[in-house]
Amino acid sequence: MNKIFNINSALTIFIKDFRSELRTRYALNALIMFVITTLAIILFAVANETPSIEISAGILWIVIFFSAMSGMARTFVSEEERGTVMTLHLIAKPSTVFFGKLLFNLILLFLMNIFTVVLYLILIPSFIIKSYDIFLLTIFLGTIGLSAASTIIAAIIAKSNTKGTLYPVLSFPILLPLLMIVIKSTKSALEGIEIAKAMGDFQVMIAYFVVIIAVSYLLFDYVWKD
């Protein structure tokens, strides 16, 4: 009975995090206000100018990237600070903890990205999506890749002394390939390109999160055990 990880246990960890988040709203509050303030700054900066398609696509993912950084840095830090790490060590295998945390981050990031995109569509006039299929698939796959990489990096920085500051520093080189490709396909969505022509981009995104999740699963033991 040697499963890769225990599904029920992973779900239990996810539910624990979900309840804890609803109780404290650490991440939710920070994320919502971060998105709002960032968009406000963008609007002030843009004023009455109309940003080009390229810039609109890039800015969207800048907002998403830094929102993810501010929201997910505490994934494991909060466990360290509350002294619950030992409990998790006792009750679950490392891979179970990893997938539970990954699931939580995935859903958190999905909700955040939906919120961001809706606000973006409302507030940025030049952001007009012509290929909805490309755009939705980009958001979906980009979110998976973003949360996968962010989860393993969050585990690493939980052990360091400069937790919050170090997080985007470590994450950016890892996430840059993904960011470049999602910005490109977002630009394709704004230009109205056919989905058939964007398939190469989606293949890269899928390859990216498969690689990251696989290597994270293999390496998480070394990060998690003290």
Binding site: I156, L166, Y222
Partner: protein
């Protein structure tokens, strides 16, 4: 000692040959270099820029391999080798970036224009920078070694994405696609000899510096261990 003397003489000859040999339209002897259309004397940078870029990638892979070895064995020596390789890689990465930027200024009119190749080296610099930032923020020795190794492995896996993704996204002005469109080595024999000699020389310099620094780091580590006892 013999190794160092030979290395010194070899690299000196490479430097002299790379800089001083005349470039002529139709080289008729071993001591003449061909004129590369559009590059002329600017092509000489190849003897110094490419070897440093090559070494910083070698160093990165070396650091990655020793990181894996550390995770497998928990032997601190591997971590020392890993961080040493990363440090040298960082140095050569900076050299490659600077030589490339200088060449870019004369060929493209600007030190930096986010050409895909420049983006690649930039990301490598970021990875090295992040690696050392991570190490400096963890005080426990074993934990620092493990986390650094994990990070370098994850970072190492993103490098292939730059090799495959970037060429698909943006067209490049980097000479290789121009000089070498079929992916074959078309260098003039003299140029090729100097290039290979330079590549070998720089790799040997890296190897030498690596061993030197590992020995120093080991002594330092032993000294610290004694002080703690």
């Amino acid at each position: 000692m013999i190794f160092k003397i030979i290395l010194g003489i070899g690299l000196t000859l490479v430097i002299i040959a790379g800089i001083a040999l005349p470039m002529v339209p139709n080289p008729s002897s071993f001591f003449e270099l061909p004129i590369v259309p559009g590059l002329e004397d600017k092509a000489r940078i190849i003897f110094f820029h490419v070897p440093t870029a090559w070494v910083c990638v070698i160093a990165f892979i070396t650091s990655l391999i020793y990181g894996i070895q550390y995770l497998r064995t928990k032997e601190i020596l591997y971590d020392i080798k890993s961080v040493t390789a990363a440090g040298l890689g960082f140095l050569f990465c900076i050299l490659a970036t600077v030589t490339g930027a200088i060449w870019s200024k004369f060929s493209w009119g600007a030190f930096w224009n986010w050409d895909p190749r420049q983006t690649s080296i930039f990301v490598l610099l970021l990875i090295y920078g992040a690696y050392f930032a991570l190490r400096s923020s963890i005080e426990v020795e074993e934990k620092r070694a493990s986390l650094s190794a994990v990070y370098s492995i994850i970072a190492g896996l993103t490098v292939p994405f730059f090799i495959f993704i970037i060429p698909r996204i943006v067209s490049s002005l980097h000479p290789d696609p121009i000089i070498n469109p079929q992916g074959k080595i078309h260098m003039n024999p003299t140029m090729l000899v100097i290039f290979i000699a330079s590549l070998t020389g720089f790799t040997a310099v890296y190897y030498w510096m690596f061993n030197l620094r590992v020995r120093f780091a080991k002594l330092q580590y032993q000294q610290q261990s004694k002080e703690q006892d």
